[in-house]
Amino acid sequence: MTRNVRRLKSDHKNMTELTRLTIAEAREKLQSKDITSAELTSAYLAAIEAANPFINAYVAVTADLAREQAKRSDDRLAKGEGGALEGIPLGIKDLFGTEGVHTQACSHILDGFKPRYESTVTSNLWADGAVMLGKLNMDEFAMGSSNETSYYGPVTNPWRGRDNNKALVPGGSSGGSASAVAAHLCAGATATDTGGSIRQPAAFTGTVGIKPTYGRCSRWGIVAFASSLDQAGPITRSVRDSAIMLKSMASSDPKDTTSVDMPVPDYEAAIGGSIRGMRIGIPKEYRLDGMPQEIDTLWQKGIEWMKDAGAEIVRISLPHTHYALPAYYIVAPAEASSNLARYDGVRYGLRKPGNDIVDMYEKTRAAGFGPEVKRRVLIGTYVLSAGYYDAYYLRAQKVRTLIKRDFETVFNDGVDAILTPATPSAAFGIADQDMAADPVKMYLNDIFTVTVNMAGLPGIAVPAGLDDSGLPLGLQLIGKPFDEETLFRTANVIEQAAGQFTADKWW
């Protein structure tokens, strides 16, 4: 009896030790055969089973597939073969098409959809030996900043304030990805970012998230939201892990005409390099009225860390920053209304019977889309409708040119990267009344991140500290087009100075 209890305890300890490993650490232990992918995968599957009733990060768990993939990885590792992610268990955002596996963008309208194809990004990961644990919760069609618009219910942030047990959002739209990584329910996760959907949830959960330059990851096989803004990227527990995952995710893809024909650099090699003499821009427009003091303090800390590492701090101006969010709320809904026209109850997903075909379309879409998606489709339809196109859409695309020009000007003046806060606050409560009452309040979550999408630039969120109630806060670094290497290098400096942050387990 006593022996059994002791053995259970030691199994539990082994499990948490395995799931605590970063991708880089697991890679080393797999290669040295200290652990097997089967053990690592089983540990994660057990952790998911125990935690998911509380966290709700996974909407589908592919346990059998994961075990098969892990076994194949172990065979390859035994022969001294294997790819860059051989045997590493990952979670996949429900927006990525995965062949024969639940792919519904967490919308009711894609009920039962199992694609007959694999997205390019996930194909790249499997080709490098990664193991799929399952599909991760998200805001419906990636529209949201709290993961509360999911058809599958909200995700709970593994972080809680020091003084209370209030359930907090993990941010969104990649809330399942961020929570799963922070709660050690996968070694790393894929995510996507249209206005901040990688970086805001990363900041809310003490994880690292990078949105690469537009065109770096293929969008082929990813459910489209706003095609000129959408980019895939990883959420991980360390900067190095993000570098490892992005190297696998990124590629040139003939199936996506906006995918760039440039070799993918070895991002990991950039980590640890000196930032001495680098010029880091601090944009004055990112200091908002009424911004919590803690956010400003964190930003100042980041500036000091950059200086200590030998970087030069340059005060800069990005004068059109203020207009990025309103322009985004024309461009993104306009593109969404067009992209989501395909959900008509004919080719896939949900269908509600109607008297005629239009009635069938209208009933299907009324039942299949949630309130936030409907709001955005209607806004998009309105701004693209006859007579309003020039006043809204065309004007917003002109403002977008000005936003991009702001960045080009400072980069041409010799700035290497820009340092800003990642979000205007720490994680807020699930079912926050202020946000529920006013959609624009929720949209303001993306105020520091959305400029980066509008200009197509790479941006990384890296944990930098905790607020007074013990919740994680992040800083954002913005880089030149296709200069993700500088972001990994500078983010690593912040990570070294700030340390890594892990939520206390309560689930």
Binding site: R116, S228, Y329, G349, Y361, R365, Y382, R395, L402
Partner: protein, 95 residues
């Protein structure tokens, strides 16, 4: 600019989303909040500014105009709510 109830219903019909009167009334308020928010773009001087068409300057990729995929009718209808012999079934469109 703002929308009234009739416009909300017209736009919902254009978007092929059925809305009840109650829903339309609720959406009227929400859409006007969003339209009020984007109104500030009118402050920006966009005289002579080119509208963005591609965020990264890159020539449009082209490929040979040849068939390079196909023969996947079964895959294409596999997820259809209603299909018959590789046709999608819809309610009667033509009398």
């Amino acid at each position: 600019m703002s929308v009234d109830l009739a416009t909300v219903k017209r736009v919902a019909h254009l978007a092929r989303i059925a809305v009840s009167d109650d829903e339309a009334a609720k959406m009227e308020g929400e859409l006007n909040t969003i339209l009020g928010f984007v109104e500030q773009l009118n402050e920006v001087d966009v005289e002579g500014v080119e509208a963005m068409t591609s965020v990264m300057p890159m020539p449009m990729k082209k490929r040979e105009d040849v068939v390079n995929d196909g023969g996947k009718a079964d895959d294409i209808v596999a997820n259809a709510p209603e299909s018959d012999e590789n046709f999608f079934l819809v309610p009667k469109v033509v009398e």
